[in-house]
Symmetry: C2
Subunit: 352 residues, 2 copies
């Protein structure tokens, strides 16, 4: 039994520690609980709000700051925030063009962000929602609720943040967000369940040598269990499933963004190994990895495993990805030399 | 049994993935294996080289780049690099004032970096070594080998990197490094052992509800096992042990740097909770947390647990900590508003 170092009463102490460690960038509001970025680009006309259950840090509060989110609304572990939190955060950051809500596709989040949107509209604030639903594992089996929102969320938030800084209006941002979501897919595997906060037991059991193929970020059981026979078999299969789903969505474009994300307990040593294999598999399919990030950005507590997210890039999305952001945790694009003009073609070395 | 996603043949694929993901900042050399920063400050007169066994990522390669390390030399998992790797890396980055080696206090690293230093000197390159030995858990019992080098390593490397950019010479840097080491202490606890790469088993067994108090970054067994009775008891005890050791070393100063470090499988949600408690415990002792960082910087593979590192700050060390660095993974100081002049007193808000 593995106890987490978490107080049973919730995540307040963690939020205080976060606000203390990054006091130059963020401020914590209590009752109701939400976090705000201290700065925003002067051209930004729309406040961007995201949030959801805790246990997926650094998402979302770690992405607060100039060039990214204006407000983040954390719930308790794996539980949606209350609509009052979202409403108050939206009021606090509404721009002249209103508020954009970035919502992962889970029932609780949809309901609470939806009520908050209605309340904001009742106050005269324009609101649009971007619903992130990228998880290939849930594409066919849960047709009622649709695909879950997982690893693509940081990508969607980054591109929207950069676009907001260029002065885009609310409808333009919402449209961009929908297009980025439609061009993004993720797939995750777990080799060990996360710890259940309540009693320290594993959230699910896995037979020895098996992986959950298509696991969710809360430990939702996968489509199937597969035998682990090495990354050289696993990763191309995952890449293939992700690309197939993008093909069904008619997302095209030879330049892709690849995010190799840790599920919580997976080391960087492993993630970079996975990343090299995934980038190679994409290149074998004739794609160019024009943008990339590696790290634990969307974990499910301390689950062992990883997810791959692919976004097929179009228009100015690569420039939006590379635009500067100042946040506690969003990874800087370091696959190209510093100072490379964002409008120019990427140097070839970044993808070799 | 939890298999790691690591190929049995070693860490080469991971290094390739790392070099690909951060190609704008680093380059990978093979045969022998080492990594170089692509840029260095024009005023830097000394090349700074660090390294050690793999499994502690992002240390050291993640700290390559302007303002920090010039070369990083990875061994296999938990094994010292070969002296030829260190020698070739040193040759590649030697400045007009020579090479500074930052070495964690382990026998294998001491030997291999020592041989490399002799070979460099035989080539006419000036070399000095800074030996990091901060782990309070090994202060008394292993008097033959001294304290292990653990969580203070990123702090030492950051301050030395910033100082090197100001044009300091080799002897001045070595002297600074020794003083920072003397003013830094760490202590780690584990709630679960890391996975043994060879067979997927746990590297050690822990009774239910117990912690290894004083564990090493390779899973070296602790001074003692303690019952976990909540962070409110554990963290002040750790802070007290760390401060007692600093007192024995006659390290003084009311401004401290606090690094709350994850051992691999510990979530940010937990680490920020720990950080809040640790900062509070330091403040209760009358100290000011003038600089801080939270994250998984020096893990031991996928061990669950955390370490606390305290450095008592003096002279211009706070400025050195806050000086800009451009690396794949070193955390930016975000506890103070961006643009705060580094020479001015820190705003009070950062430590409240």
């Amino acid at each position: 039994m593995d106890r987490l170092f978490l107080p049973t009463e919730g995540v307040d102490a963690s939020l205080r520690g976060f606000a203390r460690a990054h006091a130059g960038l963020v401020e914590l509001h209590e009752d109701p609980t939400y976090l705000l970025a201290r700065e925003r680009h002067p051209d930004r006309r729309v406040g961007i709000v995201s949030g959801g259950g805790s246990g997926h840090e650094p998402m979302h509060a770690g992405f607060l700051g100039r060039g990214l989110l204006d407000a983040a609304v954390p719930g308790r572990v794996f539980a949606s925030p209350h609509n009052r939190q979202v409403y108050e955060a939206g009021k606090a950051v509404a721009g002249p063009d209103g508020v954009l809500l970035v919502v992962k596709n889970y029932t609780g989040d949809r309901i609470n962000f939806g009520i908050a949107a209605e309340r904001l509209r009742a106050d005269g604030v324009e609101v649009r929602r971007v619903l992130v639903d990228d998880d290939v594992a849930t594409e066919s089996e849960e047709t009622g609720t649709g695909r879950r929102g997982t690893g693509a969320t940081p990508v969607v938030e980054k591109l929207l943040g950069a676009a907001a800084d260029s002065g885009l209006g609310l409808d333009e941002l919402a449209h961009l967000g929908e297009r980025v979501v439609a061009a993004s897919r993720s797939l995750a595997v777990a080799s060990r369940a996360q710890t259940r906060p309540a009693d320290g037991g594993p959230a699910f059991e896995l037979p020895d040598g098996e992986l959950e193929y298509g696991v969710g970020i809360h430990g939702e059981r996968a489509q199937r269990t597969v035998s682990y026979e090495g990354l050289e078999h696993l990763v191309p299969r995952m890449v293939s499933d992700v690309l197939d789903s993008l093909e069904r969505a008619e997302a095209t474009g030879d330049d892709v963004l690849l995010l190799t994300n840790g599920m919580g307990a997976t080391t960087l040593l492993e993630l970079y190994t996975v990343h090299d294999a995934a980038a190679g598999a994409l290149e074998e399919r004739g794609l160019r990895v024009a943008a990339q990030a590696v790290g634990t950005l969307v974990p499910g507590l301390d689950m062992a495993g990883f997810s791959l997210t692919v976004t097929r890039l179009r228009d100015d999305w690569l420039d939006l990805w590379r635009a500067p952001a100042v946040t506690p945790a969003f990874p800087a694009p370091t696959d190209i030399p510093a100072g490379t003009p964002t409008g120019s073609p990427a140097p070839v070395e970044a993808t070799r």
